[in-house]
């Protein structure tokens, strides 16, 4: 039930590899890494959620804050490899409409 967040810098894109479960206990850790990057201007960030099997509304809160910060700073982020269960939470709440999400790759196809 822990969360780990690693930042990989790949040319001009920063990739945040998140693994574990995102809930009220672990969300602050994600927020502490993601928010400073979103507040800097001109950052292009990919948040890789391949190894996140569980997320609830506290995770949504972090991504909403990140979206707000990015609008002000001119940075940009996308979520990638989002698992079905996690994607469902974005879908039910309507946030999949405004947050750029690439679902998990299945059988080599997107």
């Amino acid at each position: 039930m822990n969360l780990s967040v690693n930042v990989q810098e790949d040319s001009n894109v920063k990739v945040l590899e998140v693994s574990g479960e995102i809930d009220a206990y672990t969300a602050p850790e994600l927020k502490e890494t993601l928010m400073p990057l979103m507040r800097e201007s001109g950052n292009e960030i990919e948040v890789d959620l391949e190894n996140v099997q569980y997320m609830d509304s506290t995770g949504l809160g972090v991504f909403v804050s990140a979206l707000k910060a990015s609008k002000e700073s001119g940075s940009h982020y996308t979520l990638k490899n989002v698992q079905d269960r996690v994607f469902r939470i974005f879908e039910i709440t309507g946030l999949s409409e405004i947050i750029e999400i690439k679902a998990a790759i299945r059988g080599g196809n997107e």
Partner: protein, 158 residues
């Protein structure tokens, strides 16, 4: 009265126990034969309810505990999550909840407020009592048994 098994746990009102509750629920729901997807729904719902209780305790500067009860019925699970903090304005909470509407500007989206909405979306019945502290009672039916009940079988019974 309908027969049922009842399991109750008390945990400190701290965020680190939310995951423990989720794991416990997962075990109980698995024992009852809930499907994988239903168990995942239940996990989100109980986490949202326990998170609310933890935040509530924090706002009230209480170091209280949260009581979680599982009612195991033949066809459903009833989950009760209660904290003993002061009550809150339910209407106000309900007004601040709901899905994102596409005409809403990003700056206006609430970072919180999705919790109660998710509980209502993922569970079959939700009741909230805030007379003494806050108590959320939510029910999910186990529909596994209905899967192979097709039209033909129903007409045979009739």
């Amino acid at each position: 009265m309908e027969a049922f098994d009842y399991i109750e746990m008390k945990v400190p009102a701290k965020a680190e126990y939310i995951g423990v509750m989720r794991l416990t629920l997962s075990g109980v729901a698995n024992r009852m034969g809930f499907s994988y997807d239903a168990i995942e729904d239940l996990k989100v719902a109980i986490s949202e309810a326990v998170t609310n209780a933890v935040e509530h305790a924090y706002e009230e500067k209480e170091s209280g505990e949260i009581t979680v009860g599982f009612g195991l019925y033949e066809d459903r699970m009833e989950i009760m999550v209660a904290d003993r903090g002061g009550s809150f304005d339910l209407e106000e909470v309900k007004n601040g909840t709901g899905p994102y509407q596409s005409d809403e500007p990003v700056e206006k989206i609430r970072e919180g407020g999705f919790g109660l909405f998710l509980i209502e979306a993922l569970m079959d019945e939700v009741k909230i009592n805030n007379k003494y502290g806050v108590m959320v009672i939510m029910t999910k039916y186990n529909r596994e048994e209905e899967v192979d009940m097709d039209d033909d079988q129903i007409s045979t019974i009739q």
